[in-house]
């Protein structure tokens, strides 16, 4: 059984084309994505996270646009302060603040290596949104979390970085966390 030379050559050409198209999708697009910077400067003014929730980013923070997704009933914003990641997540939630804190703790400890550290305490934003805050530890990193309730929403805040990075930025991050406000109607 033989394959004619012409057919074989056409098949080789077609196969190379197929491989090129597969590579363009699976490798080329991610490469193009990596080639463009993901972070953008963001003004220290109220930034809409989503669902009517705003936050004033820490001065000098950069916004990671690939992990930031505002929405009508939910939203996520990721700010970078050097090596510190400051994440605000807004999502629909019908339970009380204790339940919201429980859900966030479950998320944190669901990540391999994460452990809660210290006691949880009561906190509030400047606009009076009640919440809870605490700390956690991950291999080589420390983290802090806070959770607030507003209308039918849960607002989750997590901050993570190495110990020196976190110490250097904690005051700015706490000020930013206190600036969280709910300015719109819940869905």
């Amino acid at each position: 059984m033989k394959v004619a030379r012409g057919r074989l050559l056409r098949n080789v050409a077609g196969t190379l084309g197929l491989l090129a198209a597969v590579a363009a999708v699976a490798v080329g697009l991610p490469a193009a994505d990596r080639a463009l910077p993901a972070s953008r400067p963001v003004a220290a003014a109220p930034y809409l996270v989503g669902a009517g929730v705003t936050v004033i980013p820490p001065p000098g923070a950069l916004l990671d646009v690939t992990a930031t997704r505002p929405g009508a009933d939910h939203g996520t914003a990721l700010f970078l302060l050097g090596g510190v990641r400051f994440v605000v997540v807004v999502s629909p939630f019908s339970g009380d603040v204790e339940a919201a804190a429980g859900r966030l703790r479950t998320k944190i400890t669901g990540v391999r290596g994460n452990e809660l550290a210290g006691a949880e305490s009561v906190t509030a934003t400047a606009t009076g949104l009640a919440g809870r805050q605490g700390g956690y530890a991950a291999p080589g990193r420390l983290g802090r979390y806070a959770v607030f309730r507003a209308a039918e929403l849960a607002i989750e805040v997590t901050v993570a970085g190495t110990d020196p990075q976190l110490r250097a930025t904690l005051a700015a991050v706490e000020a930013s966390t206190r600036s969280i406000a709910f300015r719109g109607a819940a869905p």
Binding site: M1, G14, V22, V25, L36, V65, T66, G71, T106
Partner: protein, 443 residues
């Protein structure tokens, strides 16, 4: 024979229509060993193995973390795929595609297309956010990135089939079948992944409620106009590109691009945030889902109908070629050329002679199809030449010599169509209400 008209007359009549639009290139008998000598075969095999390894890793992790939800998701969506697989495979009932190629198409969709789409869609989503804005990406990212990457990944599956077994894609209908099978594989794997993501997001442990919700929403409600349909449309274009060698390359490429554009647009409309709102969007969201899905479904249904008709015309002409009324009469050829007349042709003897009559007509139709396909491949048709007259003798013996539909005209068609459309709408509505009543609280 009761019919005096010569079969060749009918054959010439259909030949005109077939020659104008059809172009069915006879497929040779499947020689899978020839494909082993082609580099495309080994590349497709390697990509499939890579995809299988990646998917098995995902399934293994899911089984370890969410054993019940994973088992239910895999079981539900695999069961869901079986009738769709049978339906798609039966579209080209006269000349079914080789099982190995059908399996290859599904494997490409489920293993390769999903594997390359995951990083591709994520990267394009990020690029949209970087080049436009995060808000734009949040609203339109899925509508733009999903079709752009996934439709390409699925269309590559049909091209892979062409490279591995070019001769088996011998009509536009074959392109539809292979495209639909690629889309089916993709849809099943994607739905399983969505179901397991929903379980993880719900945060209630190893719960099956999000799986059921995903199955109802993505499988039953929106699944009928999903990847299977889009890829079938793109496959039709590739089929045209490959088969219509009588047309200029520009028009063939144009037709293929048009079909791909249609698939992209259907996918875009499905992902577009119109109407907006979540499950709580109520009846408007339900109406939006139906409005988004029905037009592409109708377009593909018409396309399939036309392609089947062309292929039936071609095979009818092949069958008529022997000019032997023991094999086919003019009335029998007329019925043979149409799917619903073939069904009526079996129903009619059932009314007159019971199961015996129905079975005999079915066997005769099978012999006629076998003869047509065998003749088109340049075979002698020896096996079928003997069988068709034997089945005809059986029909003569039970007093029903013709394999045609009843001549009596009745007006039940529009009524039946309206009843079917109403029933389909009622089923969709019931699924929608089930989603709202049972699963919405967990979403």
């Amino acid at each position: 024979m009761t019919d005096a008209a010569h079969p060749a007359t009918h054959a010439r009549a259909v030949d005109g229509r077939g020659a104008r639009t059809a172009h069915v290139h006879p497929a040779p008998r499947a020689h899978s060993r020839t494909s082993l000598l082609l580099p495309a075969f080994w590349v497709v095999l390697a990509l499939t193995v890579v995809g299988a390894v990646r998917l098995s890793g995902f399934v293994r992790t899911s089984f370890a973390e969410l054993p019940v939800a994973t088992a239910v998701a895999v079981g539900l969506f695999v069961c869901y795929a079986v009738p769709l697989w049978l339906f798609v495979a039966a579209l080209d009932h006269l000349e079914r595609e080789p099982a190995l190629l059908r399996a290859t198409a599904v494997a490409w969709g489920g293993l390769v297309a999903t594997t390359i789409s995951v990083p591709g869609v994520a990267a394009l989503h990020n690029l949209i956010a970087k080049l436009v804005s995060p808000a734009f990406a949040a609203t339109w990212g899925s509508a733009l990135a999903g079709p752009t990457v996934e439709e390409v990944a699925k269309a590559l599956g049909v091209i892979a089939i062409v490279l591995v077994a070019r001769a088996q894609l011998n009509s536009v209908l074959d392109g539809v079948v292979y495209g639909a099978l690629v889309g089916l594989g993709f849809q099943v794997v994607e739905d399983i992944a969505y179901a397991l993501n929903a379980v993880a997001l719900a945060g209630h442990g190893d719960s099956v409620r999000p799986v059921i919700a995903t199955f109802l929403l993505r499988g039953l409600l929106a699944g009928l106009w999903s990847h299977t349909l889009f890829a079938a449309l793109a496959g039709a274009g590739i089929g045209y590109l490959v088969v219509r060698t009588d047309r200029s390359m520009a028009s063939r490429v144009g037709a293929a691009m048009l079909a791909f554009g249609g698939a992209w647009t259907c996918h875009f409309l499905r992902n577009a945030p119109l109407p907006s709102g979540g499950l709580g969007g109520g009846p408007w969201l339900f109406a939006g889902l139906v409005l988004k899905g029905v037009p592409p479904m109708v377009v593909v249904a018409l396309l399939v109908r036309a392609a089947r008709q062309r292929e039936a015309d071609y095979n009818t002409a092949e069958q008529a070629a022997p000019n032997d009324t023991r094999i086919a009469t003019a009335a029998g050829l007329h019925a043979f050329g149409s799917g619903h007349l073939r069904v009526k042709g079996r129903r009619y003897p059932f009314a007159r002679a019971g199961m015996r009559g129905r079975r005999a007509v079915r066997r005769l139709q099978r012999a006629q199809a076998g003869l047509a396909v065998d003749s088109s491949r340049g075979g002698s048709g020896f096996r079928w030449f003997g069988r068709a007259p034997r089945e005809r003798s059986r029909l003569v013996a039970i007093g029903h010599p013709e394999a045609h539909a009843a001549k009596r005209r009745h007006r039940s068609g529009p009524l039946l169509a309206a009843a079917l459309a109403g029933a389909a709408f009622a089923v969709l509505l019931a699924v929608w209400l089930a989603i709202l009543a049972v699963c919405a609280p967990s979403l």
